[in-house]
Symmetry: D2
Subunit: 348 residues, 4 copies
Amino acid sequence: MTEHPRGFASDNNSGVHPEILAAIAAGNDGHVVAYGDDEYTAVARERFREHFGEQAEAFLVFNGTGANVLAIEALARPHEAVICPVTAHLNVDECGAPERIAGVKLLGVETADGKLTPDLVADRITGVGDQHASQPRAVSISEATELGTVYTPEEIRSLADLVHRQGMLLHVDGARLANAAAAFDLPLRALTTDAGVDVLSFGGTKNGLLLGDAIVFLRSELARDFLFIRKQSMQLASKMRFLAVQFDALLGRDLWRRNAAHANAMARRLAGALAVIDGAELAYPAQANGVFVTLPGEAIARLRDALPAALPFYVWDEAAGTIRLMCSWDTTEEDVDRLAAAIAAAIQ
Amino acid sequence: MTEHPRGFASDNNSGVHPEILAAIAAGNDGHVVAYGDDEYTAVARERFREHFGEQAEAFLVFNGTGANVLAIEALARPHEAVICPVTAHLNVDECGAPERIAGVKLLGVETADGKLTPDLVADRITGVGDQHASQPRAVSISEATELGTVYTPEEIRSLADLVHRQGMLLHVDGARLANAAAAFDLPLRALTTDAGVDVLSFGGTKNGLLLGDAIVFLRSELARDFLFIRKQSMQLASKMRFLAVQFDALLGRDLWRRNAAHANAMARRLAGALAVIDGAELAYPAQANGVFVTLPGEAIARLRDALPAALPFYVWDEAAGTIRLMCSWDTTEEDVDRLAAAIAAAIQ
Amino acid sequence: MTEHPRGFASDNNSGVHPEILAAIAAGNDGHVVAYGDDEYTAVARERFREHFGEQAEAFLVFNGTGANVLAIEALARPHEAVICPVTAHLNVDECGAPERIAGVKLLGVETADGKLTPDLVADRITGVGDQHASQPRAVSISEATELGTVYTPEEIRSLADLVHRQGMLLHVDGARLANAAAAFDLPLRALTTDAGVDVLSFGGTKNGLLLGDAIVFLRSELARDFLFIRKQSMQLASKMRFLAVQFDALLGRDLWRRNAAHANAMARRLAGALAVIDGAELAYPAQANGVFVTLPGEAIARLRDALPAALPFYVWDEAAGTIRLMCSWDTTEEDVDRLAAAIAAAIQ
Amino acid sequence: MTEHPRGFASDNNSGVHPEILAAIAAGNDGHVVAYGDDEYTAVARERFREHFGEQAEAFLVFNGTGANVLAIEALARPHEAVICPVTAHLNVDECGAPERIAGVKLLGVETADGKLTPDLVADRITGVGDQHASQPRAVSISEATELGTVYTPEEIRSLADLVHRQGMLLHVDGARLANAAAAFDLPLRALTTDAGVDVLSFGGTKNGLLLGDAIVFLRSELARDFLFIRKQSMQLASKMRFLAVQFDALLGRDLWRRNAAHANAMARRLAGALAVIDGAELAYPAQANGVFVTLPGEAIARLRDALPAALPFYVWDEAAGTIRLMCSWDTTEEDVDRLAAAIAAAIQ
C-alpha cells in the first residue's frame, strides 16, 4: 500500500481513534449474545441516557444513512412529509433513500446558511388535512449543518416549539452533533433533549469510530416497535458488542468532546489563516469543523495541482469557486498551516 | 464485565479472529477516500475475483440481511417471486425484509433437510405469464443450509441448470459458504461459479470477521447499477477500508478455510460424541458447523441448568425436543467434550 | 362485436345490473364536487352504516385488489404479518401486491376447504416479540371463500375472539359477502360487525356493479388517516359520485341480496344436478355461488369442446381434474341446465 | 338530491358525456372475459394505435394518479429521479404517491408558467454516476400544464432531444392532452409520438368519461412487463370492457376533440370577457381550458358570495389573489357570460 497523507476532503476519510481500536480489542473476549441482547450494548445504551436523559432510548446502527432514514421511518408514515433544508444530507446525499425506504415526501426549503428558521418552516406547513397533499409530520435539521454552521440552543428551541404547536416532531441529524456541542462548550443534551428535540441521529463514524451511528429517541414512547423497524430495514448488527464498545469509549469518557473540539479548533485555525489571505473569502462562518472558502480564478486548479493527496478537497460550488475543507479528529496544526500556505500560493 | 464463556448458541456470538483485528489495525493509517473508492477496497474486490473468477463483481455490505436482500433487489423486480425453502433464513429470520425492501413474494417450499431439489423447484414454477401471479424469477438456496446440511456441487449444478432453462437466476445465501467448501475440501468457486450460481451472498461475520458480508455477482452484467441499490438501501459504509481489510485478510490467505474447517471439525467431533450417547439422536447429518440433536424427555431443561453461559444453545423444535449446537472458529475440543459429557449426563 | 354468451368462468365476466346502470344515469346531472366530498358519497357511506352499524366508516375504491391491500395497509405496519389461507385471493391472485404495497409478510395456512379455524390460526402466531420475525398483526379470511364455502357467524366469532385475545385484528375479504349473507338469509352485519370483524373489504363488482368495492372499518378509530392512504395508494376516484350511486342502488334497496341470492340459487341448482351425475363429484360443498366439481378422465377436454363460449370455465386443479363453475346475478336456469347436460354428456 | 349547477371549480366536477354513457350501455351485453383479454379492450387499444402510431401500447387504468405513477414505475427504478416542474400534479397533488409507490425522487423545477425548458432541465441533470445522488432518468411535463398553458410541438421536441441525448426518457402527463391538441388543431400524435415523447398518461376522466385514463407507451419495448406492474399496483380493472368502450367512444370518433375544443372555446370566451374588465388580470395565457385571473382586494370574497354553487372555483394563490376557473365539456356560453358578469360586479 502507498502512503495515505491526511487531507481535508472529508471527516469520513480519517481512520479510527486509537482509544476506539483499543476498546474493540478489549471487547473481543469469548462469546457474547448476538443482536444486542448483551451487557456491552446495555452499557452503551446507558451512556446515551447519561448524556441525553432518562427518557433516551438509543439504538445502534451501521451508518448515518441508516440513522437518518430509520428515524424518519419511526416518526412518519408514508403519506406524511418531512421538511428540511434543500442542502440537507437527507435530501441530496442519500440517493433517495428517505423517499424509497420511508415512503415519505421531503419538502426542501432554500436557506441562506443551511439553517431553517421558524418562518421558513411555517411557510411549508401547507395542505394540512387535504388528502391530495403529503401531510407535514416532522422537521429535520442538521446540527452542525452541512455548511459548517450551527444552531444555538435557542434557535433549536424555537423550531421545536413551532413544530410541537403543529402536532409535528423535530428530528436532528447529528452526524456532527459533537462538533456543535464542542463549539458551544455545552453538553450534548443542551442542543437536543433540553431544546425540545424529539429524535436524534447521533454520529460516531465521523468522530473517530470505525463504524457506527445511533438513533436516539428522546421521548421513549417514540421508540415503540423500533427493534422491528431496525431489523426489517437491515440495520441490525449481529456482533452488536463491537458497535457498543465504540460508543462506550466515545461517550463514557470525554473522547467525543476531545475529538470534536480538536477538529473544530483546526477549522478555526484554518479559517483564521484564510481570513488574512487576499482573495480568499469564507462562504459561511466556520462554526464547527468545516471551512467553506471561495477562491478566485484559477486558484482551485492550481491548489489541486499543488497538493499531494489523491483527493485533497471537494469543490462545493463550481460556479462560485467555493471549496469545502473538512477537519478531522486527526488533523494537525501542520496540516492546517501547510494547506493555508498552499491556498495563499495558489491565489497569486 | 463478567466472563464470557464460549457456548454453542450461535456462530454470531463468537468474536473477531486475531488476524482480522490485526488487519484492521494495519489499515488504520492516515486518510483514505471514503465510500469504497480506495485501494484497500480494490484489493478486496480482487480477492473475490481470485476465488470466484474474473467475472466476479463483489460489493461489501454490513450484514447478512443486507447481502441477501440487496442481492434479491438486484435480481428481481417487485412483481417477481423468489423460490426458497420455508426454512431459509431469508424466509424466517429477516422480519419480512425481502418482501418490504425488494417488494417480491417469497414462495416457500417444504423440504426434508433444508435443501431444494429440481423437482421441488419445478413444482413451484407456476403462473408464468399470468398477470395475477408473482412471476418466478430466482431460486435462493443456502450453502450450507440452516439445518447444517450441504449441497454437493452436482446438486447445485442441477438446480442451476433447471433455473437457467426457465430463464431464471440462482442465488446462494453463503453466510456459511466457507464451511461448505471446507466440508468438501473444495475451492469456493466449485460450489458457486463452477456450479452455475449467478449471485452469491458471501458471509464474513460468522467466520471470524468483526462485521461484514459481501454480495458477489458471478456474472458481471448483473452488477449494473448495483452501486446505487447498495447506497439507497443503506448498506454503503463510509469508512469502507475497514470492511475491505477484513476480507483481504480472510480471503488473501487461507484464513477463511482454517476458520471454517476448524468449526466443521468441532461439529464432527460433537456429532461423533453424540452418536454414541443412548437417547441422543442427530436430526440431520452434521455436514458443516451445526449439529442438530434430539434429546428425550426433560433432558433439555437439565442440560440448560447444567451449563454456565447465559444462553448456551437454542431450542430448534420445541415439540420434537431438538436443539441446535453451533461450532465457531474459536470452539475448542475441550468445549466440545465438556458439552458432550453434559448432554450424556442430562439424558440419564 | 360478436355475441357474448353467458358462461361459468367468472362472476367478473358478467355485466352491469340494469338498476345499477340506471342509477349511474340518474346521477349524471350537472356538476358535483370531485373526490368524495359530495352528497352522493355521503348517502352511500350512510348506506353502509345502515347495514354495518353506526361505527362503520366506508371508503369506496376501484377494485377488490385495492380494497384488500389498502385494508391491510391500514391495519398493519410493514414489519407485521397477516395470517391467511394459502388459497386466499390475497395470497395467490394479487401479483404480490400485499407484500409490495403494504410491505407485510403473508403467512399462508393450508386448509381443507379454504377456511381458517382458531387452531390453525393459533399455530401460526409465533415469534411474537422476536425482532427477527414478522409480527402477526391480523388474520384475513374470505367470506364466502375462494372455494365456494362459507363461515357461519359462530365460526367468524370464534376467530375474532382468538384474534382479539392476541391483540390482533380480523379482516374479511368480502368480495362475495353478499353471497354468504344470502346463503344464511342473514343481514350483512351478522357475518361481520356482530361477529367481531374489524375491517371488511366489501365487494360490489362481482355482484352486479360496473366497478367498485369498498373498505369498511367497523370500528371507526381504525379509519384514522385512511383518506391519505387511499389517495397515496392511487385508489381515490375523482368522479366519486359514480361509485357512490352504484352502492346506493345496491345497498339502499335489496338489490345486493336479490343478485346474490339468485347466483346462489343457480349454484345450488347446478350442484344438485351434478350430484346425480355418475362420475361427477363435488370437491367442496356449494354454499355460495361457486361450484367445484371433479370430473373423470377426458371429460374436461370434451366439455370444453362442447361449450360455445371462448372461456366457459376455469380448471381449478389440473392434477385432480377439478373445474370451477361460477354463477352470476344474470345466470339463468336454462344456462345451468344446459351446462349440467353438457357435463353429463362429457363424462360418458 | 338538490340541484347541481355547473361551476368552474374543476373539470372533474362535470359528469359523463351522453355518448359515453350510451357506449357503456351498449357494451353491457352478456359475458365478456375479465381483466382485459376481451375484444372491447382490443378495439380500444387499436384506437390508441390509430392516434399514436403502430408502436403505441396502451393500458387502461382507473385514474390519473394511476396513469402517472405507473408510467414512472415503468420508466424508472427506485434509485432514479424524475425532473418535473414544482407545479406538476405529480409533485403537489398525489400525496407523495410517486415517491412511495415508484420509490423515485422528484426533482422539482421552478418555472414561470408551468413549462420546463431545455435549459431548466439541463440545470437539474447533476450527479450522474455519483452513487450518493438519485440518478436523473426521466423528465415529466404536463400538456396542457396545470396553469392552463401549452407546449408547442417544437418545444416538446426540443425537450425530447435533450432528454434522449442524456439517455433519459420523456413522459407527458396528458390528463388534458386533448385540450392541447384541440388548441393547436393538431392530431394527438403531433404533440407526442411525432415530438419524441416516450410515454404518455392520456386523460379520459376530465374529458367526459365516467372514469378512466390510459398509459400509452409510444415505444413498445418500454411496455415490457407492464401487465404485472399494473396488476401489482392495483390498477387492473376486472370488468375492463367498461373502460374500453369509453375509450373507443372517445377516440373512435371525434368526441375527444369536440369535448376538448368546446371547453377550450369556453375558456377563450371567458378570458376575452375578463380582458376588458378593469382590475382583472390574467395570470397566465388561457391556452387550454383553464383561466387563471388575479382579482383586486375583496373581489374574491364578494364573488364567492354572489355565486350559487357550493364550490364555484378554487383560489390558486391566496397571497396574489389569483383564482382558477376551469371550463368543461358541458360549460355553456351562458355559464361563461354569467360568471364574467359576476366577476365584473365583484370588482367594483
